[in-house]
Amino acid sequence: MLYAILCYHDEDAVGSWSKEQDAAVMTKLAVVQDKLTRQGRLGPVARLLPTTSATTLRKDDPPVVIDGPFAETKEQLLGFYIVDCPNLDGALDVARDLAAVNPGGAYEIRPVGLLNPGSLPT
C-alpha cells in the first residue's frame, strides 16, 4: 500500500530556524530517506515553498483566485513523502523515524488511492 505522509508544522517556527538548523534537519531527514530508498520504498518527496507564495483557486462559478493557502490555520502543509508500506503500522514507523529527527508539528498519514508518477525529469 502506498501512503502519503503529509508534513504539517507552524510555518513561523520553521521559518525561524537558522540556516544551520535547517541544514542539520535536512541532513538527518536524508538519512531516513536513504534507508527507504535502499529498500525501494520511497516515492516522490516534496518540500513546498512558504505559504506566502501560495495562491488558491476556489472552484466557484466562475472560479475565484485568492492569495494565500487554502486554509488559514496555525499549522500549514509544508511538504509530503510518498512511501510504500505493508500497512498503517509500517507507515507510522516511517513517520516516527522522520519525527525523531524533525520534532514539532504533525504528520498526517493518508493511504494513496491513485499515484500518477508523472514524467518530470528529476
Partner: protein
C-alpha cells in the same frame, strides 16, 4: 536539532505576536518585554518536561500576563510570588485564550509592534535597532555587533529610542482601514531599511551584517502572512529575496565588490530566487503597481538572466522609467542611466545623469557611474577626476578598492597608449 534549539526557534517565532499582545494589555513596552522574558524562562523550564504547548504564542501570552500581574500585585502588597504550579496548569486556560485571540486582533498587535519602531521622530538607525530589539528579539550584543558599535553605545541608542516612543504615546486604538494601510507602508519602509543596513555593508563586514538581511526577510514574510493580498508587501518580500539571493556572489575572498556582470551566477541562491519570482508573479496579477513591485521586477530580470548578456536591459530601462514617475529621485535616474548605457550607449547615459550633478554632488555612486561612462567613451582624464571624487566619498573600504581598480586600469591603459 536539540530540544533547546527547538524551543529557541519556537520562542523566536512566537515573539512578535506575544510581545504585541502583552503590549496591548500593559500599554508599556518595558513591562511587555519583561513579561515575555519571564514567560520564556518558564517555557524553558516547563516545555522540556511537558512537551511543547499546542499554541506556543498563546501559552507565552497567558503566562507572561499572569506573571506580570502577580509582580504588580506583589509590589503593591509585598506578598510572595505564587508557586510555579499555580500558573502552570494552563491546559484549559490556553484553549480559551486561543479562542479569544482572533486573527484580526493579533494581526493589529503585530502591526502595532512593528509600527511603533517607525516613529518618524526616530532616525533610521534607531528605528532599525528598536525593531531588531523588540520585534526580532535580538540581544543588544547581537545588534551592536551588526552595527559595529560598542554594546554600551547600542544600549544607550535603544534606551533613547524607547524613551522617544513612550513620549510620543503608543497608538492603542484599533486602526481604521486608511490608518492600517498607512501603518503598513511605514512598516514596509522600516523593513526595507533593516535590509539595506545589511545589504549595503562592505565585503569586510558583509558576513557580520548578513543577519540583518535575513531578519528583514523574516519580518517581510511575517508581514505578508498577516496581509496576504497586498501586492506591495509581496513585492517587498520578493525584492529582498531576489537581492539577498546574490549575497554569496557579491564579494570576492578578499572582500572586494564583484559587480553584477562579473558575478559567478552559480553562487546565486536558486531557492530564494524561485520564491521571489513566485511572489512577483502573484503580485503582478493584482495590476496595482507600486515601487517595491517595480524594484522586484527589475531584480527578477537580473535573476532570470543565466548570463549577463541575456539581461533584458530594455525592459529594465522601462521599469526604471515607471519607477521615476512613481518615485522621482535622482538615485532612480542614476540607476536608469546604467540600463540606458547598455541599450543606447554611454553617451546617452551620460547626458541623462549630467543634470543630476548638483543634487548628487556627495553621492559615491554618482561619481563611480559617471567615471565608468566616461571611461567607456575614452575620456580618461575626466574619468580619473570622477573616480578620484568617488574614492573620497566611498562609504566602505570595499567601495574605495573597487574604484581604485578602475583607476589602475585607466593608468595602465594610458601608460600603454603613451608607449
Amino acid at each position: 536539532m536539540t530540544d533547546t534549539a527547538w524551543i529557541d526557534a519556537a520562542l523566536t517565532s512566537a515573539r512578535p505576536q506575544a510581545v504585541g499582545a502583552l503590549l496591548r494589555y500593559f500599554r508599556d513596552l518595558d513591562t511587555a518585554e519583561e513579561a515575555f522574558q519571564n514567560a520564556c524562562l518558564r517555557a524553558l523550564k516547563n516545555w522540556p518536561q511537558n512537551g511543547p504547548p499546542r499554541d506556543p504564542a498563546a501559552w507565552l501570552i497567558m503566562v507572561g500576563r499572569n506573571v506580570a500581574i502577580d509582580d504588580i500585585r506583589r509590589n503593591r502588597k509585598q506578598q510572595p510570588l505564587p508557586e510555579d504550579a499555580a500558573i502552570s496548569d494552563l491546559d484549559d486556560a490556553e484553549e480559551r485564550l486561543a479562542e479569544r485571540l482572533d486573527g484580526s486582533q493579533y494581526r493589529d498587535d503585530i502591526l502595532r509592534l512593528l509600527f511603533i519602531c517607525c516613529h518618524p521622530g526616530l532616525p533610521a538607525t534607531q528605528q532599525i535597532a528598536l525593531a531588531l530589539r523588540i520585534v526580532s528579539g535580538l540581544t543588544v550584543k547581537q545588534i551592536a555587533r551588526a552595527f559595529i558599535v560598542s554594546e554600551a553605545a547600542m544600549e544607550q541608542r535603544i534606551t533613547r529610542a524607547k524613551a522617544s516612543v513612550a513620549d510620543a504615546g503608543l497608538p492603542f486604538e484599533t486602526p481604521g482601514a486608511v490608518e492600517r494601510s498607512e501603518r503598513l507602508a511605514a512598516v514596509a519602509a522600516m523593513i526595507y531599511l533593516v535590509f539595506n543596513e545589511g545589504y549595503s555593508a562592505g565585503g569586510d563586514t558583509a558576513d557580520i551584517r548578513k543577519p540583518l538581511c535575513e531578519e528583514a526577510i523574516r519580518l517581510a514574510r511575517l508581514l505578508l502572512r498577516l496581509f496576504q493580498s497586498e501586492p506591495e508587501i509581496m513585492g517587498l518580500t520578493a525584492l529582498l529575496l531576489l537581492q539577498h539571493a546574490r549575497a554569496a556572489a557579491r564579494f570576492d575572498a578578499g572582500g572586494a565588490v564583484i559587480l553584477l556582470d562579473d558575478q559567478d551566477r552559480s553562487l546565486w541562491n536558486q531557492k530564494m530566487i524561485a520564491e521571489g519570482l513566485a511572489l512577483i508573479d502573484k503580485a503582478m496579477r493584482h495590476r496595482q503597481s507600486g515601487p517595491y513591485q517595480i524594484q522586484a521586477a527589475i531584480a527578477a530580470l537580473h535573476a532570470r538572466a543565466a548570463r549577463p548578456e541575456d539581461t533584458d536591459w530594455t525592459q529594465i530601462d522601462l521599469l526604471y522609467g515607471a519607477l521615476e514617475v512613481m518615485q522621482p529621485s535622482p538615485v532612480v535616474t542614476l540607476n536608469r542611466a546604467v540600463a540606458v548605457s547598455k541599450v543606447r550607449g554611454a553617451e546617452a547615459a551620460l547626458d541623462m545623469i549630467e543634470p543630476l550633478a548638483s543634487r548628487l554632488s556627495n553621492y559615491f555612486h554618482f561619481f563611480g557611474v559617471r567615471g565608468a561612462f566616461l571611461m567607456q567613451l575614452g575620456r580618461s582624464d575626466e574619468a580619473r577626476i570622477a573616480f578620484d571624487r568617488a574614492i573620497a566619498l566611498a562609504n566602505t573600504s570595499a567601495e574605495a578598492a573597487h574604484i581604485r581598480m578602475h583607476l589602475d586600469r585607466l593608468m595602465r591603459d594610458s601608460a600603454g597608449a603613451g608607449k
